[in-house]
Amino acid sequence: MSSAIEVSDLWKIYQNGKQQLPLDDVEKLEQLKESGEIVIAVREVSFNVEPGEVFVVMGLSGSGKSTLIRCLLRLVEPTRGSIIINENDVTSMNQKDLTFFRRQEASMIFQHYGLLPHRTVIDNVAFGLKLKGISKEERYSKAREMLDTVGLQGWEEYYPGSLSGGMRQRVGIARALVADPPVLLMDEPFSGLDPLIRREMQDELVKLQQSMNKTIFFVTHDLDEGMTLGDRMAVMKDGKFVQVGKPEEVLADPADDYVARFVQDKKKQIEMADKERSKKDEELSRNVS
């Protein structure tokens, strides 16, 4: 079976003017970048995500991860490269096919929720179905089902403005799941939530994922989150993937200084926890003997 998401040699370059970019000449690009004429948000990114896999992209703000996830739906037009999602060649689609693709194949969940403030919770969840032209009855029954799944039954008629951040993101998740797309794109969905709620939402996502088995492309700046959720993770810096691998691999064997610094605290935590445990084990064995 082929990969769910295949991205190869993806670039996104922002420029002031409209001049032709010397895409093949890295040195020239570097010069333009130095002179401030262009900004390279994503450079030379290639990766595959297998069906049912959770792929985490981690990086600090400004590393290009948000641009990357937007390129996948062409909310941001990539400068170069190819994106294939479920055998659909996203980069070569015309506007009509693209609209159809967005309704059917991949849903996105946003850091700032992106809910419609003038619509009720249930209308927000049913939004994608409405765009598809599905009848009111059918979309409401599906939306209601999905609200049950995310634990928001009884909140149908409220407006997003009266919901807490965590609940708003549940609405966002319900909206993404209601069309049952094979691919979910999540752009720092839990970053705006307070730590306890964040934890809870992460656990619920894991639980949901066990039953849904979606392909998830997850962007975060939080290492813990990435380690908890990711089957594989990529560390991004200045628009480039500096390392791709299983979370344990990244932790154990950082590719460069940047990644090493990124995972340093986490390593310390683990070492501390290990020490604690071995201490306890020793005490335990002493007590037993």
Partner: protein, 283 residues
């Protein structure tokens, strides 16, 4: 002294040009004139036919709908009674009819153009400087083109009012659409909204408070212009003011002036309240 031989008048040429236009496009001007006149007459005779107390009751009901406050309702219902007490009720209805006609036409023209301005940047680039220029012109000037093509009377009065009062609703429609948060637009696009769906489902509803603020502004501008348009024969309360000025009758002018103010307050409160109803709910 400026040399007399240098004098060069274009007044005659302009008059000739306008006459030529009127002859050539007679069908268009007559048609437009009769459409506007018909609309105005219908609105006016409707307002005249409705008993005064029903109009006040309607104002009270509307005020209750937008404010839910007894005080507001009472004030807005009592104020128009004074117009009647001054004996100016029929004139006020005439003015109101002209305002309503002008506002209806202004909205039919203004809102779609505002939407086009927000959707297509080149259109905005063309229209915005025109609106800026229009804003700097004294309101008197708007009487000239109306006079030019339609002579004296109610129709030019309505059209001058339309020209003067359309810019705010255009601007505020465009502004409201441009201020829609990009997160909401992005989400709508990500879920597969077409351009039209994006406009209909997300942008227009979110711009509604701003558009309605534009409706409010347009109505207030129309009211201001209607008084001035009495100079070319629009009639109504403005004409009463004009007569009072000509006869130096301060008292009579005061009565008419107060009536205009009352009309303004009532219309402003009602349309503003209506605009508030459309803000996205937070509870």
């Amino acid at each position: 002294m400026f040399p007399e031989t240098w004098q060069f008048n274009i007044a005659n040429h302009i008059n000739n040009f306008v006459n030529w236009l009127l002859d050539t496009f007679a069908v268009f001007f007559d048609g437009l004139s009769s459409v506007v006149l018909n609309l105005l007459m219908n609105i006016h005779s409707a307002l005249d036919a409705i008993p005064w107390w029903i109009i006040i009751l309607t104002i009270a009901l509307f005020a209750w709908f937008v404010s839910r406050s007894i005080v507001t309702v009472t004030i807005l219902a009592i104020l128009p009674v004074f117009i009647g007490l001054f004996g100016l009720w029929p004139l006020a209805m005439e003015t109101l009819a002209i305002i309503l006609t002008a506002v209806v036409i202004a909205l039919i023209i203004g809102i779609p153009i505002g939407v086009l301005m927000a959707e297509f940047k080149p259109i905005e680039a063309i229209i915005r400087p025109i609106l800026d220029a229009m804003q700097t012109m004294p309101s008197f000037v708007y009487l000239i083109p109306a006079l030019m093509f339609f002579g004296l009377g109610k129709v030019p009065g309505v059209l001058a009012t339309v020209i003067y009062s359309t810019p705010p609703v255009m601007r505020l429609t465009c502004l409201g659409l441009n201020q829609v948060p990009s997160e909401v637009e992005e989400a709508a696009l990500a879920y597969g909204a077409t351009r039209w769906q994006l406009l209909k489902e997300a942008r227009l509803p979110l711009a509604m408070p701003s558009i309605l603020a534009g409706v409010n502004q347009t109505t207030m501008m129309a009211l201001a212009m209607v008084v001035i348009a009495s100079m070319i024969g629009a009639g109504g309360l403005g004409y009463e003011v004009l007569i009072s000025i000509n006869r130096v009758n301060v008292g009579r002018g005061f009565e008419a002036g107060i009536s205009v103010v009352i009309l303004a307050i009532v219309i402003d409160r009602l349309t503003q309240g209506f605009a508030k109803r459309f803000e996205p709910p937070t509870t």
